[in-house]
């Protein structure tokens, strides 16, 4: 691993708001004594004010990554620096103060709100935990945040079951805003919402970013969402980064065979005559993170895999400016040509 990534060499590098260095997160499986390598060596930086998209399928480790970024999980190895500070080095009181700046919003807006608490109490709660304000001040700030996300004040006295999914997600956003965070990890925040509401919530995220200078780490499996909101996209697979680069480059001229397949598998709502013809359908499914393949994690489903892919972990290479890839055979023109690989169903089992 080259360690520090994506800093333009010429720039006088400011401290990134988030610096992830060779991060590993492992879980022990209770009975079998096996280890799940949820995150298996990931490095990247997130600069203040940007939206950093993380895309991956289930089992790629993206949710674990999100939780680790806001110190809800501690790294098994490697480090996460928040504006140069390792939260693990802080004492309890300092950590509590520090956490205000690094917040997370989860996928299920229903599960994230206490059904027995009125909306206003839920929104005040983070401030209560952070401490330092009177009840009146907290309520004022909560109402302010609710207004900012488009929730009318009379909703503040209601209970979550009286609200729609979109409204609940707005309330979860308001909750986090009360703390005036610098960075928000958004973990599948629109996945549970209907299409017509999704747009509204995404627009809200964009407005809040402009207004408060927020930095987002936007974790999702939805290619269209991640491409819409992000400045840069990181593609995860089995606990590692496959590719990282500017959104347009990753979306339109990917370097990694996995990214290419992922993009081509995304169903496009266009009439048949306008749809891109070439579609790469991957064989099988993502292997288990207990026993990931040696070398390149993607090789068991890759149509360009060669013996070297099993033997060596691909290096993290910057093939185009600020566009990184972990593939032995990718060139600056794109992924390696796909061999006419026979279906390898055994690899999927």
């Amino acid at each position: 691993m080259n360690g520090l990534v994506n800093i333009p060499a010429a720039a006088v590098a400011p401290t990134p708001l988030l610096r992830v260095q060779d991060l590993q997160v492992r879980f022990n499986v209770r009975d079998s004594g096996e280890t799940v390598k949820a995150i298996d060596g990931i490095s990247f930086d997130v600069m203040a004010g940007e939206t950093f998209g993380v895309i991956g399928e289930s089992g790629s480790g993206k949710t674990t990554l999100g939780r680790a970024l806001v110190s809800l999980l501690s790294p098994s190895a490697g480090s996460i620096l928040h504006d140069g500070v390792d939260p693990r080095s802080l004492g309890a009181a300092a950590l509590r103060q520090h956490r205000r700046d690094y917040q997370i919003i989860f996928q299920d807006p229903h599960a994230a709100l206490n059904p027995r608490q009125r909306v206003l109490d839920s929104v005040c709660e983070p401030l209560e935990i952070a401490g330092g304000l009177t009840r009146g001040e907290r309520e004022l700030r909560a109402l302010d945040a609710l207004a900012r996300v488009g929730i009318a004040p009379d909703y503040a006295r209601r209970y979550p079951h009286m609200l729609s999914g979109g409204q609940k997600q707005r309330i979860n956003i308001a909750r986090v805003l009360t703390l005036r965070p610098r960075l928000i990890v958004c973990d599948e925040v629109v996945a549970a919402l209907d299409v017509s509401i999704r747009g509204d919530v995404l627009n809200l995220f964009a407005d809040l970013q402009r207004e408060f200078g927020l930095t987002y780490v936007f974790i999702t499996h939805d290619l269209s969402v991640v491409s819409h909101v992000s400045d840069r996209i990181a593609v995860t697979y089995l606990g590692r980064l496959m590719e990282l680069g500017p959104t347009e480059a990753v979306g339109e001229r990917p370097l990694h065979p996995y990214t290419e397949a992922l993009m081509s598998a995304d169903p496009v709502p266009l009439p048949s005559s306008m749809r891109p013809q070439r579609r790469i359908v991957l064989q099988g499914e993502i292997p288990s993170p207990v026993n990931p393949p040696s070398g390149c994690r993607f090789r068991t489903r890759c149509a360009s895999a060669a013996p070297r892919c099993a033997a060596e972990l691909p290096e993290w290479r910057e093939l185009r400016p600020a566009h990184w890839v972990a593939c032995h055979f990718a060139t600056r023109d794109g992924p390696p040509p796909r061999a006419a690989m026979p279906a390898a169903p055994d690899a999927a089992l």
Partner: protein, 329 residues
């Protein structure tokens, strides 16, 4: 082949009778692939279940006709209905794990679906099951048919469900969000499989989903549902390019994929009216940018089909004078 006429479904609840779909009219021709789209609560799942009469009979009132090759399924006695399920019409669901029995091997379950309709020995049913597993692309079917659902991954489980649904070669397969729980690369495998199987065997498909991209890839025709009504019924390409109902247009325009990156996404303001407070007239009126005072008249949208074209129906009273944007421009 399947013709649904004036289908209204109501549930009896503690608060009284609540109508969830109103006077649905649609048909599916042999081999046709019909996508049913709409947001949560629009009635698309209930419609799929009602065709197979899988709604709880005590709580769900079904009015109207469900004609399958001339027979009205809504009137059929339960014993005869049982002969239809799995044989003429089969169904697959979003979450295959809950639809499979964990204590029987997948081969036994598939074979049983066959034995329910054909008098064959267990051994022959097993052979058929292995064949069916092979047809849906499960590797090593002769070995894997003795395995249990938990030994299969999500994508393979959905293939098992498809094998089970298709083993009796039904004329119609109802698929309710069959790929929603799957990853995008696996989703592509399953949608390709469904399309190929339908092409090869001439099985008609009723594909219920919220994902317009999946409909574009799999289906030939698209029904858009809103608040318990069908608001548009058109060939997929026509619906995507030139939708004739403002709701369909709004749904298409709100897809992030079609917008410029980081630009404001168009959205549909407001929310779906609750089933207990459905307005008379157009149900989309309060959220519609094109609504006129006349739209609250009951007769304004009474009929589905105010457009000149036979195969493009819409429930918009202004269809004749509106030009609505689709996925392009």
């Amino acid at each position: 082949m399947l013709e649904v006429r004036d289908l209204s479904i109501s549930f009896l609840t503690a608060q009284g009778r609540v109508q969830v779909t109103r006077q649905l009219n649609f048909s599916i021709a042999p081999g046709e692939r019909l996508g049913v789209v709409g947001e949560s609560g629009c009635g698309k799942t209930v419609t799929g279940l009602s065709v197979l009469r899988l709604l709880p009979e005590r709580q769900a009132l079904i009015e109207g006709q469900i004609l399958m090759q001339g027979r009205d399924l809504a009137q059929l006695p339960e014993t005869q209905m049982r002969a239809v399920r799995g044989r003429d019409i089969a169904m697959i669901f979003q979450e295959p794990m809950t639809a499979l029995d964990p204590v029987f091997s997948v081969g036994e379950q598939i074979g049983e679906a066959y034995r329910a309709h054909f008098p064959v020995s267990r051994a022959e049913a097993r052979e058929r099951a292995i064949d069916a597993l092979a047809r849906v692309g499960i590797p090593l079917p002769a070995r894997r048919h003795v395995e249990y659902p938990h030994q299969f991954s999500g994508g393979l489980r959905q293939r098992v469900m498809i094998a089970m649904a298709l083993i009796c070669e039904p004329k119609l397969l109802i698929a309710d969000e069959p790929t929603t729980a799957l990853d995008v690369t696996v989703q592509a495998q399953i949608t390709d499989l469904l399309r190929d199987l339908s092409d090869r065997a001439g099985t008609a498909l009723m594909f219920i989903t919220h994902d317009l991209g999946v409909v574009a890839e799999v289906c030939t025709r698209m029904l858009t549902m809103y608040a318990g009504e069908i608001v548009e019924d058109a060939p997929v390409d026509a619906a995507l390019l030139r939708p004739r109902h403002p709701y369909t247009s709004g749904l298409l325009r709100s897809l992030p994929r079609l917008a410029q990156r980081r630009q404001v996404l168009p959205s549909i303001r407001g929310r779906v009216p609750s089933p207990t407070e459905m307005p008379a007239g157009c149900r989309f009126r309060a959220r519609c940018d094109h609504a006129l005072p006349a739209c609250d008249q009951a007769q304004s949208t009474h009929q589905l089909g105010t457009t000149p074209s036979d195969n493009h129906l819409t429930r918009c009273g202004r269809a004749a004078d509106l030009v609505l944007p689709g996925v392009v421009g």
